[in-house]
Each structure stands twice: as structure tokens, then as C-alpha cells.
């Protein structure tokens, strides 16, 4: 991209100092940047100035970032929007995805990262490169889902990794030491036996410790939170379908929402946590199917209870695994493809919300996970 074709940027943030310094730095880096201190000011500028990429803070007084985004996309659909978000705002940023923002960055933002993102957004606006575009959005979608799931587990993940690494290090050194002992032909049997015993003691103690860390983690994940409101399960199901749609289509999997025609499908509960559970179940279903198949999200109503089931036509769960699937860290996915925490955390959440998760596997024909929840909490 030549100097003359630099994207024109509009920076929107209510923090005056942040706005001024970031705006100045972008200008210095050759990106002509306009600034607005509020959503309405941003819309006014867009009405009179040519802008390619808007960089938009999620959290602003008055018209918030999501609303501003919605209006920008309404009146200037070709303008690309990069959202700036704090950790606590990830949820609402995900909502923003439905209104078509390009990507989000978490504050504090690194200048280089922001510039790269602006240039990417600008390239998409110019329609280049056409080829990578679809995959990029799909990747983004997957990324968002993962981010969404992690958001309510909080930054705890990092400290968990750290905590788990300590027992892992003990296990690693014990195994390594034993291996080098075993490689010494002159070592007597009694001596080798002694080494094996010592190494196994250390390994078992470390494993116990890692398991305790996992349990504490789950207890934390079930900590009470503030959001409770009336939710229509049909809307929630549609939202989860929209969020999972692209990943599914990539692998030729259909996602369909069905609802029993009668019965009340609303309940009073925590929409974010419930969405996390559903996303998790749908993601699992997609992974179980792999390619070519169908996922049904089935909403059932009733006077006292409502239910939402995720039904897939994948291979099902073998009998020997079914009792263990809710155990923390139990996973059959390849290394790096799953933590084994999804179902354990999901069950924790659902129980906290006063409900239960049922599973019904049809080996060779698919699997159903059903979340049953009370319509009202006492």
C-alpha cells in the first residue's frame, strides 16, 4: 500500500488523554486520523468526512460502543470497525460481532498491533485479498467462541497454567531421571526397584496435586455472579446457532433450531453463563461430527421447567467413556484440541443455575445433551 493510499482512520473513545495520545501516534505513523469523543460525534464526522476504518471503544457513556457500531453499519456499511475492549467487556464485544465489526483488540492496545489491524481492515474494505477473506472471518468466529468461553473462566486460566506446571515439572523430572537410571546396565535390580518406587511416589503426589488444582478451579468457575434476567430460550438458541454457523458450514454441518410449538420457553436465569454452556455443547457436537452432518438445538417448554437439547448425528460416545465425560480434564480430543474442562465447567454452571445436564448416547448414531432448568428460581 503506497503512502497516498493509507487508510483514513476515525478514533472514538471517551477518555480524552487516551484519544489524544493514540490519535497523535497514529498520525505520526502516517495514518491520517480523526478523533471523536463520543458515538454521536463519530456519526457526525462520518456524515461529512471520508473514513475507511473506525477504531471504537466498547465502553462509553451515552451511546455505547455496540450501539454506535450498529448505527455506523446502518448508515455506512462499507466502513470497517475495529473494537477496543477491556477484559470485562468481552461479552458485549461478542454481541458486536453480530453487527459486523471486523475484529477486536483488548486494551491495553499495542500501537503496532492496532496499525496492523487497521491495515487488515482496510484491505478487506478494498476487497483484497478476496481469497483469504472467508477463512479469516471463520477463524475470527472460532477465536471469538473460544474467547467467549474463556471470558467467564476469567484470567484464571493463566494462573492455572502456572499452577499446573509445578506438578508437571515434578512428573517430568521424575520420569526423566527414571529413564536415565533404567538405561544404566550396571544398576542392580534392587537399586532399580528403589528408583522406580521413589519416582512413582513423586509422580503420584504430583498428580494428586494437579487434580486438587483442577477442583479448586471448578469451584471458582462456579462462583456466584450478578446477571439474572428473563431469557427466551428460543432466542438464546438462535444466537448460539448464529455464533457457530460459520464453523459448521466450513465442515458442511447444518445447525437447526427447533422448538415445541406449545409451552412457555422463557425462564429467569443468567444469559451469559447459559450461552457459554450452549456454545460449549454445540462446539462439542461439531467436533464430534467432524464433517458432514447435522446438529439440532431443540427447545422444550413447560409450566415449571424448560429444556434445551443439543442433538448431533456424530459417532456418539462409547459406553466406557460416558461415565467420565463430566470429569475435569477428561478428554478424548487430540493434544491441544481440548482441555477436558468444557463439560465439567458446563455442569458446574448448570447446577449452579438450579438445573441439570442429561446425556444420551446412541453409539454409531449420535448423541444428545439436554440441559433442564427451572423456569423460576426461588
Amino acid at each position: 500500500m503506497s503512502e497516498a493510499e493509507q487508510p483514513r482512520v476515525l478514533l472514538v473513545d471517551d477518555e480524552a488523554d487516551f484519544l489524544a495520545s493514540l490519535g497523535q501516534r497514529l498520525n505520526l505513523r502516517g495514518l491520517p486520523t480523526l478523533m471523536a469523543a463520543s458515538g454521536s460525534e463519530a456519526l457526525a464526522i462520518l456524515g461529512r468526512e471520508p473514513v475507511d476504518v473506525v477504531v471504537l471503544d466498547v465502553r462509553m457513556p451515552g451511546m455505547d460502543g455496540i450501539e454506535t457500531l450498529r448505527r455506523i453499519k446502518e448508515s455506512h456499511p462499507r466502513v470497517e470497525v475495529v473494537m477496543l475492549t477491556g477484559h470485562a467487556d468481552l461479552e458485549s464485544s461478542i454481541e458486536g460481532m453480530r453487527f459486523g465489526f471486523f475484529d477486536y483488540l483488548t486494551k491495553p492496545v499495542q500501537l503496532q498491533q492496532l496499525i496492523a489491524k487497521i491495515e487488515e481492515a482496510s484491505r478487506r474494505r478494498l476487497g483484497e485479498p478476496i481469497e483469504g477473506h472467508e477463512t479469516f472471518t471463520d477463524k475470527l468466529q472460532q477465536h471469538m467462541i473460544v474467547a467467549d468461553r474463556l471470558a467467564s473462566l476469567g484470567e484464571l486460566a493463566a494462573s492455572i497454567a502456572h499452577e499446573i506446571n509445578n506438578p508437571l515439572a515434578v512428573i517430568s523430572e521424575s520420569a526423566g531421571w527414571l529413564r536415565s537410571r533404567a538405561a544404566r546396565p550396571e544398576l542392580g535390580e534392587a537399586e532399580l526397584r528403589g528408583s522406580v518406587g521413589l519416582a512413582l511416589d513423586k509422580i503420584e503426589a504430583a498428580v494428586d496435586r494437579a487434580a486438587r488444582i483442577a477442583q479448586n478451579f471448578l469451584r471458582f468457575a462456579r462462583a456466584p455472579d450478578a446477571v439474572v434476567r428473563e431469557i427466551d430460550l428460543r432466542e438464546l438458541a438462535a444466537e448460539v446457532r448464529d455464533l457457530s454457523f460459520r464453523g459448521a458450514r466450513l465442515n458442511n454441518i447444518e445447525i437447526e433450531v427447533t422448538a415445541s410449538p406449545d409451552g412457555e420457553t422463557s425462564l429467569v436465569s443468567d444469559p451469559y453463563q447459559l450461552r457459554q454452556v450452549l456454545l460449549n455443547l454445540v462446539t462439542n457436537a461439531l467436533q464430534a461430527i467432524g464433517r458432514d452432518g447435522r446438529v439440532e438445538i431443540k427447545v422444550g417448554g413447560g409450566p415449571e421447567q424448560v429444556s434445551i437439547a443439543v442433538i448431533d448425528d456424530g459417532p456418539g460416545i462409547p459406553d466406557e467413556h460416558i461415565e467420565r465425560i463430566f470429569e475435569p480434564f477428561f478428554t478424548t480430543k487430540k493434544e491441544g484440541h481440548g482441555t477436558g474442562l468444557g463439560l465439567a465447567v458446563s455442569r458446574g454452571i448448570v447446577e449452579k443455575l438450579g438445573g441439570r445436564i442429561e446425556v444420551e448416547s446412541r453409539p454409531g448414531a449420535g448423541c444428545t445433551f439436554r440441559v433442564v432448568l427451572p423456569r423460576h428460581r426461588d
Binding site: A158, H162, N166, L168, A169, S172, E173, W177, S180, K202
Partner: protein
């Protein structure tokens, strides 16, 4: 080339880790001592210096970085390799600025750790050699003055 044994001190509050890594390094032909906190580590160094200290960054009591600074202050030629977890990479960089030789992430790949230990020992040997030559030059100049 035959590798010389390295005198190593491991300082980490994870007792099992210190014990097993000690055994493993001993098995690899090195001489290893262990200490379970910063104060004990400094005491062990005061008793007898070593070539390389393997030092955990995150410890209760005196943390790794302040132990590192004290070591470099009192025993400047002793090399220090920091052990870091996921959340302490930034601290490791700070440690390098404070004179640590290198860092490894926990759980460490053993070959990587061995390589860094050997490199640290070499640097210490070179440093000692330079000091010896400098002292010799000073001695010669002094005797020349006489």
C-alpha cells in the same frame, strides 16, 4: 569432548522438584545441592560457591529476583539460570537485566537445561580466566615498579 561436571545449586520452594531435578542432574554427572528458599540458597552459597544457580522466580519469602540481585552482588562470577512459569516471562526479562545468564520455562526440557548449564559454566570459566590474567598483569606491573 568430555564435559566437566558442573557445581549446581537449585533454589526452589518445590521440594519434590528440587529433589528429582537434583537426582537427574546427578545422574547426568553433575554435583548438585538444593535449597528450598532464597535465604537457604544464599546461606548455601556463603558456605561454598558453585558454578551455576538454578533459581525459581516465584517463591514465598524472598522472591527470585531479589535473591538474584543479592547473588550477583556478593558472588558476581556465579552464573544464575532462572526458572519461570507462564506468568513470569516478564519477570525473567527483568532478571536478565539484573545479571541472570538465561532462563528456562518450567517444566524445562532437560536437554535445553543441560545446554544452558554448560554455556553458563563456560562463561564463568572464561570470566575467572580473565580475572586471573588481570590479576597477573597487575602483579607483574607491581613487581616491575619495584
Amino acid at each position: 569432548m568430555l564435559k566437566l561436571p558442573i557445581d549446581i545449586l537449585i533454589v526452589d520452594d518445590e521440594r519434590d522438584f528440587v529433589e528429582m531435578l537434583s537426582l537427574r542432574l546427578t545422574e547426568a554427572g553433575h554435583r548438585v545441592r538444593g535449597a528450598f528458599d532464597g535465604e537457604a540458597g544464599l546461606a548455601a552459597l556463603a558456605e561454598a560457591e558453585c558454578d551455576v544457580v538454578i533459581l525459581d522466580i516465584r517463591m514465598p519469602g524472598k522472591d527470585g529476583i531479589s535473591v538474584l540481585k543479592t547473588i550477583k552482588n556478593i558472588h558476581p562470577v556465579v552464573e544464575v539460570i532462572l526458572l519461570t512459569g507462564h506468568g513470569t516471562i516478564d519477570t525473567a526479562v527483568e532478571g536478565l537485566k539484573s545479571g541472570a545468564f538465561d532462563y528456562v520455562q518450567k517444566p524445562a526440557r532437560f536437554e535445553e537445561l543441560l545446554g544452558k548449564l554448560e554455556a553458563a559454566r563456560l562463561r564463568k570459566a572464561e570470566q575467572e580466566e580473565r580475572i586471573r590474567r588481570a590479576e597477573a598483569r597487575i602483579l607483574m606491573r607491581k613487581s616491575g615498579d619495584i
